[in-house]
Symmetry: C2
Subunit: 266 residues, 2 copies
Amino acid sequence: MQSAEHPSRTARGRAAAGEPRPRFDTLTVPKASDVLAAEVRERILSGEFTEGMALPPERQLVEQTGLSRATVREALRVLEVERLLEIRPGRGGGAFVHRPGRESLANTVRLVIRGQRIRLEDLHETREAIEPACAALAARRRTDADLAELDDAHAELVAAGDDIQRFLRANIHWHNAVARAGENELLIGFMSALSQSIHAATDIEQFMDADIRKLTARAHARITEAIRDRDSEAAMRRMTRHVCGFAQAAAEVDRRDGVELTDPEN
Amino acid sequence: MQSAEHPSRTARGRAAAGEPRPRFDTLTVPKASDVLAAEVRERILSGEFTEGMALPPERQLVEQTGLSRATVREALRVLEVERLLEIRPGRGGGAFVHRPGRESLANTVRLVIRGQRIRLEDLHETREAIEPACAALAARRRTDADLAELDDAHAELVAAGDDIQRFLRANIHWHNAVARAGENELLIGFMSALSQSIHAATDIEQFMDADIRKLTARAHARITEAIRDRDSEAAMRRMTRHVCGFAQAAAEVDRRDGVELTDPEN
DNA sequence: CGGCCTCTTTGGCTGAACCATTCAACACAG
DNA sequence: CTGTGTTGAATGGTTCAGCCAAAGAGGCCG
């Protein structure tokens, strides 16, 4: 700061002589821990640090970087939050490179959905965009194992009967199985996060009555058949109808709830 | 550990007497900074801490929590990475609650895409699922301002001529404008991350020849028209054709490159 | 009154030390 | 020789005390 004020005075004298001075943009000073984190992040993402590789222990990083331990720890912590490192305590522990899997993709997306307070309608619309595509891909790429899982999930759904919690678990399981059969990691992650978020945000007990459950089971069966026949057109069409129907039903209940629940509050 | 071995001996004696012993699961000890981070995170997400609200300064948090400053700082750092806090130094600074916007949604998704090394085909497939839906929504919900932005972006695209970088910027801008017109925050974030990631991953100079540029401009024009006419069917159909065509062209070039570029390496 | 200076508040960073967990090596009893 | 308990070392987790740097607040002097 002082070294920035000081020259400005002398420079003003020169400016009076008509000589143009160089222009400096307001420069941003990054935090030390961010610098280290960025360095390590790049080396992980570039593939220089491979999955499972152990970083040097903290105290050694302190030596090598010239930073303090707190700073090094902050950097490691940042990368742990970003799921690029996994840190284990104790002897033989340390920071290990970890290329996150589909689970953490789903977790991240879910956190973002919650953090941004995305509207439920937005979630439904997004699902209407994504899930039919998943069904279409599933129909093209399904293996027999995928099919078996779909059948299992559907059997469980039917077997659930009036046990709503069991029904809902089987429902999510079936939807995730469709996404997995599509073999697209990104769509799998999105769908997983979406279905969980929608499930969590919907007061689902309210409208999961016997009729809707029956309708759901029929729709799943027909979609599963299309996937079995590798008929991606039909799978997509039927899935579109299924999720749109669900969204409408949810909106219906939500509107009723809106009247019941938000009025007394205000 | 010792307290777990010790009783086992005395208990073994009792077990011989046929009396079942209680079973302990391996218990997990959370880190102090995680506990604090979780606490603050919940209070932000639940709405108790509102946007822009200032948390107490670090030293005061140290008093109130009974933790050390390093621990408190780690917790705040975690929340900063999750974009739930914004931390500013200097007097009048501190930790401020920050509900992340669409920019950080896109950033997060982009990081995940890169971190997981999602395949380019997966990106294209996901885009083929999402962007037509965006176009359909845009046709239904567009305002005149949205339309103006689309027209601007298209004009810029046409004006770019042979300046490929300028063309590409205008291209991304137009695609983002479509998403924004759809008014779905989640889709906006996904699309923004997708188009940037695809752009970054495609060796785009290679196949963005004059023909493709002309084709792109025509497609954009026709889609913009559909959105102007609020014809969501047409918008969706044309967008599907557009992005599929792009994906095929990219795959074509990629295959050619694959032969050229990966052979010499091996 | 306005510009400058100093003071205070706040985050950023350091260093040293101690605690907790885990694993490996080793010594000792059976 | 075997297995079992003990000890020690490596490593992350936490604390404490302190200094530095940035940035606003308020007073002081021209």
